[in-house]
Symmetry: C2
């Protein structure tokens, strides 16, 4: 089986590639070739027994998606996107990559004619306030960002191309990924990860919102699990409703901090500095808090068990099992 | 005020142009110029006191939408579309006109920079079965046709372009138009109109489904009323949720026939020939039956009062007030 990851140099793409390299198989089939495509070169995952091909390019460019489809990959993970903040700042770039790029890919798949499995990474940015207490599977998509709009359009296209028999597609709406590894970034949602990751590494982090803020989280490891499950599932069970909100963990910032205290002690918690930002608090008030993702649960998608588990996954996967003990 | 109708030669476009010509004003402003654009030449509406410009062309073609925006129309009605059946048969043509054409138009509006009102004609084809008993305003779009998919994508784009301040847009999801004037067409929904229009004109018509089939209807006159109201409304009241399901009349085929009997007697009803079509009955089972369009009602959109009224509107507007009395 040949597998293509579009966005293979990104955070989830990299972890997904590592897991596929480790497993050597997907959906019960041995993987013969793994292609990692991105705008920058991806890394060959350590210990990969299959052939790994690295490719770089610009997905919406003419002929580009056709080139990626030339070897008729059986499973395609489409994770490439301009992120929320950038798509909001650069309207044209967001539509070019997130909408035209996705459509180019789907058209190339249609032209290739072999009807592969396609897993499209969508987002809970599909939804915009006001919300019901818990957002159900039939609540309407009402995005409040260009990024969210582009993701919903991608979902609709994946649904229609599936219904027409051009591919066998599924869109999975990922929760906010927490704890996101790497350096703090400028995403408005970055603080959810910053206030966990930095203290665990012995650094200070800023908490700009109140502890009562609730949000919907999944660890990177769980997100990779969603991808693998989405690639393996019999999609006939979904009918033509091919977009699914993934299960997550609804926790408040206060609950995050309590979990940090349990896992890393008071000295880690003491590294969180409270600097309220009313502007950010307003933005966050428009975000989903919690969902009732009944269909995804019925189909076997599983959230992290607790926020402590999310922290332990981070310590294991990113910190080699060690918490920074130095400190204040 | 300058008004542009894209799709000005179509059934609703023609009636909308006639109404605007008759009124001479829109949203409280006198109309100085009315441009009717379509793939085929539209007709100058009788008695138009304003300047009427007829233009033909291919909306998604390069530079075409820019040309339409050159005189900076204040209100744009976008009614042009490849219809459901054709978009399902010709996948590329449907996406080219319904998706790329709409996006071209929105891009041209953005480039023109004057932030006009834009009224986009969407459809209840945005929804696909299974449904709740009555579809509410927050029920998700789950189209089961390429046409429906393209309409929802249009709604999302109109929403995002509005939120970004490029235009002041609204998408209105029209009910099935009944009684549709003209000759019987091949649309699967054609029978709802055929079994009324043909008997009123002294012709036979075929009823392919059972009398218990319920559907959501609006007369052409009411649809034009929706357009005018959508062009006049303060859209700030909608927030960024700019797609609205229009009120309609939920009636069964049996209720349609009872209304026909009241308005035109037994001899008209006798012209309906029952030829059950299980294939069509299956298709129709996937269509919406009834809605609870709370937001649109609150905003002052009004459905037809009864199916008898729908028939009287048809007799007045299409038959010059005369029902065919000739018998079998």
């Amino acid at each position: 089986m040949k597998v293509l990851i579009i966005g293979g140099a990104g955070m989830i793409g990299r972890k997904l590639a590592q897991q596929l390299a480790k497993d050597g198989r997907l959906a019960g089939q041995p993987i013969s070739k793994l292609t990692l495509y991105d705008v920058v070169p991806a890394a060959v995952p350590p210990g990969a027994a299959m052939g790994v091909s690295l490719a770089t390019g610009d997905l919406p460019a003419a002929g580009e998606a056709d080139r990626l489809l030339a070897d008729q990959p059986h499973v395609i993970f489409h994770l490439a996107a301009i992120v929320s903040g950038e798509a909001e700042q650069d309207f044209d770039k967001g539509y070019l990559i997130n909408m035209d790029g996705t459509r180019s890919l789907l058209e190339a798949v249609r032209k290739a004619g072999h009807k592969p499995r396609l897993v499209f990474a969508s987002s809970i940015a599909a939804f915009g306030a006001p919300f019901p207490e818990a957002i159900g599977d039939e609540f309407f998509a009402s995005p409040l960002t260009s990024y969210g709009t582009q993701k919903v359009i991608g979902e609709l296209l994946v649904g229609d191309y599936s219904r027409k028999g051009f591919l066998d597609g599924i869109s999975i709406r990922l929760p906010t990924i927490c704890v996101r590894p790497g350096r703090p970034n400028k995403a408005a949602s970055g603080f959810f990860s910053n206030i966990m990751r930095e203290p665990l590494a012995g650094e200070e982090a800023v908490l700009p919102v109140s502890e009562s803020v609730m949000h919907w989280h999944a660890s990177p490891r769980t997100a990779v699990g969603f991808m693998l499950h989405a690639a393996s599932l019999d999609l006939d069970r979904l009918g033509w409703r091919r977009a699914l909100t993934m299960p997550g963990l609804a926790v408040t910032v206060g609950e995050q901090i309590a979990a940090l205290r349990k896992v890393a002690g008071d000295q880690a918690v003491a590294r969180i500095r409270r600097v309220p930002d009313p502007f950010l608090e307003d933005i966050v008030a428009g975000w989903p808090r919690t969902f009732a993702p009944k269909r995804a649960l019925e189909l076997g998608f599983r959230a992290d068990a607790s926020f402590e588990e999310i922290l332990r996954v981070h310590i294991e996967d990113e910190l080699g099992g060690h918490i920074a003990r130095g400190g204040r």
